[in-house]
Amino acid sequence: MTILLSLQGVSKRFGGLQALLNITFDLPQGQILGLIGPNGAGKTTLFNVINGVYPPESGRTVFRDKDVTGLKPYHLAQMGMARTHQIVRPLNELSVRENVMVGACFGHENQDLGNASKIADEVLEFVGLAARVDQLAGSLNVAQKKRLEMARALAAHPYLLLLDEVLAGLNHSEIDSMIQTVLKIREQGITIIMIEHVMKAVMNICDRIIVLDYGQQIAEGNPEAIASDPKVVEAYLGDPRLAEQLLEEEV
Amino acid sequence: MGMTLIWGVMNVINLSHGPIIALGMFGTFFIFTRTGLNPYVGLIPVAILGLLLGVLIYVVAVHRVINAPHLSSLLATFSVNMIIIGLGTAALTTSPYNVDFAAGSFKLGSVTLLGTRLIAALVAMLFTGGLYLFLYRTRPGKYIRAVANNRAAAELMGIPSTRILALSFGLGTMLAAVSGALIATFFPFSILAGASYELKSFVIGVLGGLGNPIGALFGGLVLGILEGIIPAFMESSWVPVIEFGLFVVILLVRPSGLFGAKR
């Protein structure tokens, strides 16, 4: 099994706040890794360190056997890493197709405009936005914008896809169809790390889960092991709603 | 100082600052020549008119674009600038005026100080102190700081942000008008004279940290000292080169200003 991404003792601090402490894990190719934890546990910060938005204070990140610690987001994008954002960032005044073309043009395949346009149409078909290709991205609703974020990331044909709460704010049927989409992405051989609060989804589709609390890795393992880990339940007790959800899953 | 207030509170670069300074100059001029009132007494009507004008400009030109991209508010204030200069040019021509007034001079050791300048400096310090007290000690002042810090949160707590924004724009304008009035007591001026002071107030604002009244005073001091020292080493025509060079460098290195909080 090839290791696609490896974090070795990554730490990040904001002023007095230790946002991440000594995060270490290996991610084999083709897996879906779930990243859970209470709000403010450092999940999004970890994404930001992985894809180069912030350099880590200490530790190394190795992506596809290259040390990529401290590289910029665009370097990592060009090496085959793509992500979505928790708070969507559509390019409002561009059309949906143009949004996705940006992903294809500047990602690691470095496509020209003609090919990018073809890829954009394929990917938009895949995420179910084919009917809206010529609309301005700003005119989409939230669920559609989330799909657009996903399409942009996929258009780069990445090796690694970071999904930051793609299910948040969606209704039940939207969640189900998004889960199907994620599984289909894995079938294409793309490795995924997803941050998610919707436990049903995390438990069902992740191969492995890492739990963060106050910037520390408090548990790691397959979904069953995580759900019965007392430390995890304890961490979530600060967030009763989530603890409840988690306990429900066990039943 | 008015610049830095408007900037800090609204995140708007006010390009109509210059002509308002010039209007302040003319305010003093007309009050002095028509009514013979002492220019320092004349400051009061100038300040009140400045406040009203500022509120008017805010309501007419700035309010609609305050949440729009920077470019919009820049252009809105620039169009106000054009309107004032255009009308001013038509009514007053661009030829220089002069307020013929002296407040004697004082000898301080070997340095002779013109009375008008000394009083201007005192009034400026008075205003800085007043502004500081206003911002930190009074209710509307605290509102202004709250709105500057986080407009959405301030609104949620029931602060009438539109009125507060209009008030701070008015205050900024008032300060510009007053400084114009003070400058008029010792320099000749024309309707176009505001432009160079506007550029200077950019530099001062950035030096001291935009949005920080005490910083503005320090910024002004630093600039004044620079203008005093540089001619000792090289020709005084190099002063603006240094000033604007410094301005760009500070923007790059410490956009919050020399005395601003570290971000």
Partner: protein, 323 residues
């Protein structure tokens, strides 16, 4: 067919330039030629600025610095080294491009209003520097010797030649603008304009891309500077770096619609046309500045996307033609 579609946006702009060039030739009046030159110059400057402002979303308040700097370099080479107008124009453009490259590397890290402020500072610093720079004549500037015009058939003929050169530069500016707009590089710029962080995450190498946009937007203004001051006969710090002209160019781009090829052209046309009318009319002569200001205010407040942007929003089918 596909090529035709992609490049249909350039047709109208080229027609406008052609019409402007032919107008004085047909009427044969020198005054028309001067008006047309002013408009062509405005079109070239506005279209260039649009690459930075409209496509990349960075507001430069001191763009005129490239016009002045290029003009100075060109005139210096014309007088001291007796270069021809054409090589001097090229050199002026290159010099401005290089200046933009150096400045861009430094100040494009700043965002929003801080960038705008820095550009003002740079323009003023440059003006003050040239004022002290003896090689470029200090405060008196550089004056061309009359004999410079000899190779172009004397002063009168040189004016005619300058006019055609101006038309050529305007054409160059809009072709450049169009190529950028329809290229992959341009797509990267638009992505930066819409959301710089998102663009970075998608792999747009933002520092390099922004710097090249800055360079591209500086070259034609540098060349125009050389041409204008050649025609003018001399260059002084105050004529070379007028801050208000910077803002006038901004206004033109806004007026017509930023981020489109045609917008700045219409904006330049409308603004210069309006100014020409106001300056000469009996009634508005004195308050022309106020009238322009009031018009600008109305545009900013009510149709911030500019005329073309407004049309595009109203009538979606026009989107392709008005690219």
């Amino acid at each position: 067919m596909k090529i035709w579609h992609r490049h249909s946006g350039i047709i109208l702009p080229v027609l406008v330039i052609a019409a402007l060039t032919l107008w004085p030739v047909i009427t044969g009046k020198a005054s028309n030629r001067e008006s047309a030159f002013t408009i062509l110059k405005a079109i070239a400057l506005a279209s260039s600025l649009n690459i930075l402002l409209g496509y990349t979303g960075y507001v430069s308040f001191g763009h005129i610095v490239f016009y002045g700097f290029g003009g100075y370099v060109g005139l210096f080479l014309l007088t001291e080294n007796e270069w021809s107008l054409w090589t001097a124009m090229l050199a002026g453009g290159l010099a401005s491009g290089m200046l933009a490259f150096l400045l861009g590397t430094a100040i494009l890290r700043l965002r929003g209003a801080y960038f705008a402020l820095a550009t003002i500072g740079i323009n003023e610093a440059m003006k003050a520097f040239i004022n002290n720079f003896d090689l470029f004549g200090g405060p008196t500037g550089i004056t061309l010797n009359f004999s410079v015009y000899k190779p172009y058939g004397g002063a009168a003929q040189a004016l005619q030649t300058s006019f055609y050169a101006g038309a050529g530069l305007a054409l160059l500016a809009i072709v450049l603008s169009h190529i950028v707009r329809t290229s992959k590089f341009g797509l990267g710029l638009l992505a930066i304009r819409e959301n710089e962080d998102a663009a970075e995450v998608m792999g747009v190498v933002t520092p390099r891309t922004k710097t090249w946009a800055y360079v591209l937007s500086a070259i034609v203004p540098g060349m125009i500077g050389v041409l204008f001051f050649f025609k003018n006969g001399n260059v002084e710090p105050h004529d070379a770096f007028p801050l208000h002209a910077s803002i006038e160019i901004l206004v033109m781009v806004m007026l017509g619609g930023q981020g489109t090829v045609l917008g700045p052209i219409l904006g330049a046309f409308a603004y210069q046309g309006m100014r020409g009318y106001l300056v000469t009319s009996e009634f508005f002569k004195d308050i022309q500045l106020s009238v322009s200001g009031a018009l600008l205010l109305l545009i900013v407040l009510f149709i911030p996307a500019g005329a073309i942007g407004w049309l595009r929003h109203r009538i979606p089918t026009l989107r392709r033609v008005l690219a």
